[in-house]
C-alpha cells in the first residue's frame, strides 16, 4: 500500500496504480482526452496534468501514466496545473474546434474562446491516438498510424491508400472520442456477421434461441482476437473470468464397442439453379430461411415479411428444388411435400396472402399426411401441377410489375402460366453432408451412388454397415422425415445395445495362419500386412500371425512364396476346388 496526499487529503491506495486511478477512487475528477482504461497510457493530450509537490519543489506530471509513490503530494487543480491544463485545452480548441469533448471541457474550465489561430473550423480529430492504439494494441492490425509530424500530423493508412491490413472491424471509430472517424468512412470494408444472411449479429452470441446448451460462443470467423491475436476486451470485462481465448479443440479418445453414425444432411444449394433466381432476386428464399423467418425468435419476431418490411400478398412454394431432377439429384427427398404443406398452412394462418404450391406429384405417404393435404385443399391453397421453369422479375404486364413472376406449365390444363407473387419459397431437397465421403473413409464404410451412407442390406440389415459395430441413423443414410429418423435411430440404438449387452464380438473366422513347419522365415509377408499382424520370430526363424490383429484380407497368403500361409475358409485348395467346380459340366 502507498500513502499519499491528494488535494490535501491523506489516503492509502494499493501499489502500482496511477494518480488518475487513485483520484478516481476518491471521486476526484481529473479530465482526460487521450486516456482509455483499456489502453496503455499515452500521455499525449497533457490535459490530465496535476501538480506534484515534493521537497525539491513542484512539477507537473500527467496523472494518467504516473504511478503513485509513498509520500507523494498531489494537487489536481492547483493554479499551476489548471494554468497548463487550460492552455492545452485552449490549444486543442484551436486545433480541433468541432470536437465536442474539447468544447465541453473548455466550457468546464471557463474557456470561452481560443486565442490561437483556427486552421479548420470543422476539424474533429484531436490526435489523441486512440484509434491508432486500438488498431495496433487491441486489434493487432496496425492498419492505421500517424503520418507526418508536428503540424502535419494526421491519422491515416500507409501512404493514404486503402490498407490491406484493415480488417474492417471499425474499432478505430468505436474508440474515437470525438467522432472524427465515422463508420461511413469505412463503408465497403465493414464486415457484417450474419446468420443465414437474415441479419447482423456479433462475434459473441448464442447460436440460436433453441440452442442446447444455451451458452454463448465466440465466432472465430468474426472475432478480432482470432484474426489478429489481440483484443481480449471481452475477457477483460468478464467478471467471472469465463472466457478463455486459448481454449483449443480437443481430441478425445474414447474406447467404445459400437458407433452410431447420425451425421445428417446438407440442404441443397438452390443458387445452382440460376433460373430460380436465388441469391439474385430479393424475396426468393429457401425453406430453411422461411423456417427461420417464421420462428418466434427470428429477426422479425416471427412475422412473415418481405425484404422491404411489408407483408406479402401472394406467395409461391416451389416443390422438388434439387430433387427428382436428373440435373441435380434424381432421388425424392421425401420431406419437402409435407413441409411445404406446413408452410402453406402457416402462411394462411399468419398472413392473408394467396398461396400457390407448385408440385410434380404430391407425396403424402405417412400417417395423417393425406388428411393434412386435404385440409390444405379446403383452406384454399392453390395447387398447380407442373415443374416451374423460371422465376423472374421481368414484368410483361402492369399487374406483374414489382412482383416475382413464376412461369410454369400447368400440366393439368396443359397451359403455360405466369403467376406473379411477392415471395417465393424454394422447397430445397436433402443432400449427403459435404464431408460424408471423409466420414465413410474414417469408418471404413461405403456410400451409395447418391452419396448417402450405404447400409449393409436394404431389407435385412438397414441400420448396419459393412463395418461391424457401426450403425446408421437418420438422414446420413437417406432422406427421411422425423418419425422415420426416430424409428431408425431406435433401431440403431437397439443394435448397438445388443452388441454392448453381449460384451464380446465374434470375429469372422477368416484370419490367416502360418504353418510353422513350412515357413522358412522369408519375411515377405511381414511388410505386406497393413495391420502389422505379422511378426518375424528371429529365434524360431519363422513369421507368426497375431490372430487378434489379423483382419483376414489374405494378402499375405497370396504373397507367401512357400505356401506356408493360408487363410481359413479361403485356402488355396478351396479356391482351386471352386475354380474346378465351375468347369464341371
Amino acid at each position: 500500500m502507498v500513502n499519499l496526499k491528494i488535494d490535501g487529503k491523506t489516503i492509502q491506495v494499493e501499489d502500482g496504480i496511477t494518480i488518475l486511478q487513485a483520484a478516481e477512487q476518491q471521486e476526484i475528477k481529473i479530465p482526460t482526452l487521450c486516456y482509455h482504461p483499456l489502453m496503455e497510457p499515452y500521455a499525449a493530450c497533457r490535459v490530465c496534468v496535476v501538480e506534484s509537490i515534493s521537497g525539491k519543489g513542484s512539477e507537473l506530471v500527467t496523472s494518467c501514466n504516473t504511478l503513485v509513490k509513498n509520500g507523494m503530494e498531489i494537487q489536481t487543480a492547483s493554479d499551476k496545473a489548471l494554468f497548463a491544463r487550460r492552455m492545452n485545452v485552449e490549444m486543442l480548441l484551436a486545433q480541433a474546434p468541432a470536437a465536442v469533448p474539447v468544447q465541453e471541457l473548455a466550457k468546464e474550465l471557463g474557456i470561452e474562446k481560443t486565442r490561437f489561430k483556427i486552421k479548420d473550423p470543422d476539424e474533429k480529430c484531436i490526435l489523441c491516438g486512440m484509434c491508432v492504439r486500438a488498431c495496433e494494441d487491441i486489434v493487432g492490425a496496425s492498419a492505421i498510424s500517424f503520418l507526418q509530424r508536428g503540424q502535419h500530423r494526421e491519422v491515416c493508412t500507409p501512404f493514404g491508400e486503402q490498407s490491406e491490413a484493415c480488417i474492417g472491424c471499425t474499432a478505430c471509430a468505436f474508440f474515437c472520442p470525438t467522432g472524427a472517424i465515422t463508420v461511413e468512412d469505412l463503408h465497403g470494408r465493414k464486415v457484417i456477421h450474419s446468420e443465414l444472411d437474415l441479419g447482423p449479429s456479433t462475434a459473441i452470441r448464442v447460436p440460436i434461441r433453441q440452442a442446447v446448451p444455451m451458452v454463448p460462443f465466440i465466432d472465430e470467423e468474426a472475432c478480432i482476437h482470432f484474426k489478429t491475436g489481440e483484443c481480449k476486451i471481452c475477457s477483460d470485462v468478464c467478471q467471472k473470468e469465463a472466457i478463455d481465448h486459448e481454449a483449443q479443440d480437443e481430441e478425445i479418445e474414447l474406447e467404445v464397442g459400437s458407433i452410431i453414425l447420425a451425421s445428417g444432411f446438407k440442404s441443397f444449394d438452390p443458387s445452382l439453379i440460376p433460373a430460380y433466381g436465388y441469391g439474385r432476386l430479393d424475396n426468393v428464399i429457401t425453406a430453411l430461411e422461411f423456417e427461420r423467418l417464421v420462428n418466434a425468435s427470428s429477426p422479425t419476431g416471427g412475422k412473415i415479411l418481405l425484404s422491404n418490411g411489408e407483408e406479402p400478398k401472394s406467395v409461391g412454394i416451389i416443390h422438388c428444388v434439387g430433387s427428382r431432377d436428373e440435373n441435380y439429384n434424381e432421388y425424392c427427398s421425401r420431406v419437402c411435400c409435407m413441409y411445404s404443406l406446413k408452410f402453406a398452412h402457416l402462411l394462411k394462418e399468419k398472413t392473408s396472402a394467396d398461396i400457390y404450391d407448385f408440385y410434380i406429384d404430391m407425396r403424402c405417404f405417412g400417417k395423417g399426411y393425406e388428411e393434412f393435404y386435404h385440409r390444405l385443399l379446403h383452406e384454399g391453397t392453390k395447387f398447380i401441377r407442373g415443374r416451374v421453369s423460371e422465376v423472374s422479375d421481368m414484368a410483361l404486364s402492369k399487374e406483374e410489375e414489382g412482383k416475382l413472376i413464376i412461369r410454369v406449365e400447368d400440366t393439368l390444363i396443359g397451359v403455360v402460366r405466369r403467376i406473379p407473387v411477392d415471395m417465393v419459397i424454394l422447397a430445397t431437397g436433402l443432400e449427403p453432408g459435404t464431408d460424408s465421403n471423409q466420414i465413410a473413409k474414417v469408418f471404413n464404410i461405403s456410400c451409395s451412388q447418391d452419396g448417402f451412407f450405404l447400409e449393409r442390406h436394404p431389407k435385412l440389415a438397414p441400420v448396419s454397415t459393412f463395418s461391424d459395430g457401426i450403425f446408421l441413423a437418420g438422414t446420413c443414410q437417406s432422406p427421411k422425415d422425423i418419425p422415420d429418423t426416430v424409428a431408425q435411430a431406435g433401431a440403431a440404438a437397439c443394435e448397438a445395445l445388443a452388441l454392448a449387452d453381449k460384451g464380446k464380438f465374434d470375429l469372422e473366422p477368416i484370419t490367416a495362419e502360418i504353418d510353422e513347419e513350412l515357413c522358412a522365415g522369408c519375411q515377405i509377408c511381414v511388410g505386406l500386412c497393413p495391420f502389422t499382424a505379422i511378426t518375424y520370430d528371429k529365434e524360431k526363424g519363422i513369421s507368426e500371425i497375431n490372430d487378434a490383429l489379423c483382419k483376414g484380407c489374405g494378402t499375405c497368403v497370396s504373397a507367401c512364396p512357400s505356401g506356408a500361409a493360408q487363410q481359413k475358409h479361403f485356402r488355396d485348395k478351396q479356391i482351386f476346388a471352386e475354380i474346378e467346380g465351375i468347369f464341371i459340366e
Partner: protein, 327 residues
Amino acid sequence: MSTEKPKVAFYWCASCGGCEEAVIDLAEDILKVTAAVDIVFWPVAMDFKKTDVEAMEDGSIAVSFINGAVRNSEQEEMVNLLRRKSGLVVAFGSCSHLGGIPGLANFWNRKTIFNSSYHTSPSTDNPEGTIPQEKHIMEDGKELTLPRFYDTVYTLDQVIDVDYYLPGCAPPKHLIMTAITAILEGKLPSKGAVLSPNKSLCDDCGRNDSKPEKLAIKAVKRPWEVEMDNEKCFLAQGIICMGPATRSGCEERCILGNMPCRGCFGPTDQVYDQGAKFLGAFASLLDSDDEEEIEKIVNTIVDPAGTFYRFSLPSSILRRKRMETVK
C-alpha cells in the same frame, strides 16, 4: 559280383550330362555304392545295350535313376522300358523332376525350334534347308529312322509313374548319398516324395537376417547390372532371387557363389505352380501404388516367364505356351 546285390540302372534323357557328373562326383563314395549294388545299365559309363535291358526280367532292377526331361520318342520308349523293368524309379535332377532348362523349349514348338536351329541361327550353314526327318530311304533302299521330336517337353512323371524325386541341377552329393542309403536300408518315405526338406531356401540362407523390416522394390536389376553385396539379401538389392519359392536342400550353392537362387529345386509341396506363386510374392513387393510407376517397375523385369519358370515350366499348371490343339 554277387547276385545278392540289388541291381541299379542309370539313364539319361534330355539333359546336359551334369547329373551323370554328379554321380561321378561322389568320388570315393562311388566305391561304397558299387560295393553295395550292381550297376546293370549306365549308357554314359558302361557298355550295355537296350537289348540287354529288354532281356531282363520285369521288375528285376531294384531302382532306376533317370535324369533329363522327355522330349522325343526314343526317350519315351526307354523310360517306359526302364519303368517296366524297375521296382523303383527315381527322377534324378531338375530336368526329370520339373522339366529343367530343356523345358524352356515349351515356349516354342518343333517347327519354330527346327526353324531356328536349322535355318535362322547365325552359325547355321544349311543352303538346302534340310531339316531332320524321321525316316529316310537311302539310295540302297535301306530305311534309316530317327526318333520323333515332340512339340512339348515332359517331366518324367508326365510320361511314367515316378516313385521319388531327387531335385537339383544337379542333385547335390549329400542328397544322392542320403537317397541311396535310404533305398538300400529300405527306409523310404511315402511314394512320390521329393527327397529334400519341404521348406524354402530362406530357411537355410545365411543372408536371411539381412532382410530389411519391409522389403520394397523400386527397380529390378539383373545380376550383371550391379555390383552385388555379398552379404545382403538379393531381394533387398532389387535382384530376383527365387529362394523364397524354392525348396531348400542345395546347401545354398549359388548364394555362396554370390548368385541369386534360380529355383532348380522346384517349389515346396504346398505350391501348385512355382512361377505363379513367386510372381504373387514378388509383385507385392513392388514399391508403388501408382499405376504408371508400377508399369515402369514391371518393365524393368525382363522375361518374367523365363525367369520365374526357369526350371519348372513343363511341371507348371500351364505346362507350355498356348497352342491351338490339333483336332
